[in-house]
């Protein structure tokens, strides 16, 4: 393992501290318990709080700021944060209109946020994101994973919350966006958890993992490396199979890097995916390409599609000012 770190146990606090120093105009960091809030507390709006294991940067702390989150609770690497973090964050950012938790659907995150929600005295609700189509939903499992589509949920609900909408409306929009969003990822290399010191999984020089999770969880299948167009065709087919868009539907196309894949390749994937979607009669009217929901140092990428409607478009296009996403202000 070769990483820019000092002591394994200091990685999280040093990295969060650097993040807060570099973006002191946008965020403020609290330690023990760890959470990140906006530099300027918002008033008269539903407070949006997300969080999860670290290692997915810029998710979630990178999306704290005007137009997106009010607070983020970073856990240890790939480990859900604990309820004391959510409680302290909620106390800091509650502005009298309640708290909406945005939680990626993993057992650990769900249970920790659930316990925080139970202990919290302020009105609150939770949106669970579960956009990863690699794992089929079924009644007897805990359901699909939340991955890069979470960024879209945070952006869109974040925008609605700035308008002063109430808790129920924010939750409803979050659930709607989640239902209209599907993602699937592919890994070319494993990631390495600093504390573990070695690769999470082994993968051959000519192999890829189709449907991989953002923690390096195995996906649908291991297969031989193929041209980008063939990989994209499989990812897009799996997502469309799940979302079943109407003919001529308008979509947001996101190509998300897992951290070690260069922008040059991400744009090449975008080109391949947009061509394919157009050929299938879909209208790609919004895009996002870059490293937004990463998997430590994994080489790989995911494709996310979100079925747009006027409400989602309006809130996608609105101004946002965070470390990880900024437009219009």
């Amino acid at each position: 393992m070769k990483k820019f770190i000092n002591k394994v146990n200091d990685v999280l606090v040093e990295s969060l501290s650097g993040f807060a120093m570099a973006h002191q105009d946008i965020v403020q960091l609290h330690l023990d318990p760890h959470f990140v809030v906006r530099a300027n507390k918002a008033s008269n709006k539903v407070a949006l709080i997300s969080g999860g294991g670290s290692g997915h940067e810029p998710l979630h702390a990178g999306f704290v700021g005007y137009g997106m989150l009010d607070a983020a609770c970073p856990g240890h690497v790939f480990t859900s944060p604990s309820p004391d973090q959510m409680l302290a964050a909620a106390e800091a950012v509650d502005a009298g209109k309640g708290v909406l938790f945005i939680v990626k659907n993993y057992a650990g995150d769900v249970m920790n946020f659930e316990m925080a929600a139970e202990m919290l005295s302020v009105p609150n609700a939770t949106v669970l994101t579960s956009d990863d189509v690699a794992v089929e939903n079924s009644t007897w499992t805990s359901g699909r994973r939340g991955v890069a589509g979470t960024v879209i949920v945070e952006k869109v609900v974040g925008s609605l919350a700035e308008t002063g909408a109430d808790l129920a409306a924010c939750k409803a929009l979050g659930d709607k966006v989640n239902q209209r969003t599907g993602s699937m990822g592919v890994a070319l290399t494993s990631c390495t958890v600093p504390a573990a010191g070695r690769a999470t999984f082994d993968i051959g020089d000519n192999e890829l993992e189709m449907g991989v999770g953002i923690h390096g969880e195995p996906g649908r299948r291991r297969e031989a490396m193929r041209p980008a167009d063939a990989i994209v065709a499989d990812l897009v087919a799996a997502i469309l199979h799940d979302l079943k868009p109407a003919a001529g539907a308008e979509v947001l196309l996101m190509v998300n890097g897992f951290a070690a894949t260069p922008l040059m390749e991400l744009y090449l994937l975008y080109h391949s995916a947009e061509k394919l979607l157009k050929a299938q009669g879909l209208i790609v009217s919004r895009s996002l390409v870059g490293n937004y929901t990463t998997a430590l140092d994994m080489a790989g990428a995911s494709i996310t599609l979100c079925l747009l409607d006027d409400e989602i478009k309006q809130h996608w296009d609105s101004p946002v000012h965070t470390a990880g996403l900024r437009r219009g202000c």
Binding site: H76, S82, Q85, N112, M115, W140, S142, A196
Partner: protein, 208 residues
Amino acid sequence: MNTDDILNAIMAVDQALAAHEAEIESLDRAIGDGDHYINISRGSQVAVAMRGELAALSPDAALQKLAMKLLSTIGGASGPLVASFFMGMGKAIKEHNSSLADVAAAFAAGVEAIRARGKADLGEKTMLDVLIPVSRCFTELTAAGAEPRLIFKELKQVAEQGMLSTRDLVATKGRAAFLGDRAIGHIDAGAKSSQVMVSAVCDLALQT
């Protein structure tokens, strides 16, 4: 059972986990995300560090305090589950001098709290595949008035069987659930760490 027994159990569990680090870690790497040992040992280390504070408390208060600390320390899936266990046990245990039957009842309450929190049951390839059989056996044997040494020996065996039983299961809870059939053939990390902890406490009881 008194607070001293809790303190000794904490030490025994911490040492036993450390002795099984590589094994627990590699199990979670195979069908989870590789951090279960790190999470659970972060908990056991903080528990060891708390022994001074806990010593002054009654067993129920000690377990409650331990639960809250573990809740804010472990994180991940195991954090809320382990914390729920000690909360449940702390609520159920007598203030002082619990009998073995009392401890069995409190243990059952702890396991029930895990079930409630995780919405899982026997056969879902989780720590419950160790804890539920252990709890049932513990309750039955104490109710039947079995000899303590026999009880602890038996519990170790039941824990071992439960742990091994997860190998052939498909997971329906936790990260391994994402794998479907691909999880078959691997023992669940949480089941292994639970078996290690149960064994360590039983060994402690057998020594004294």
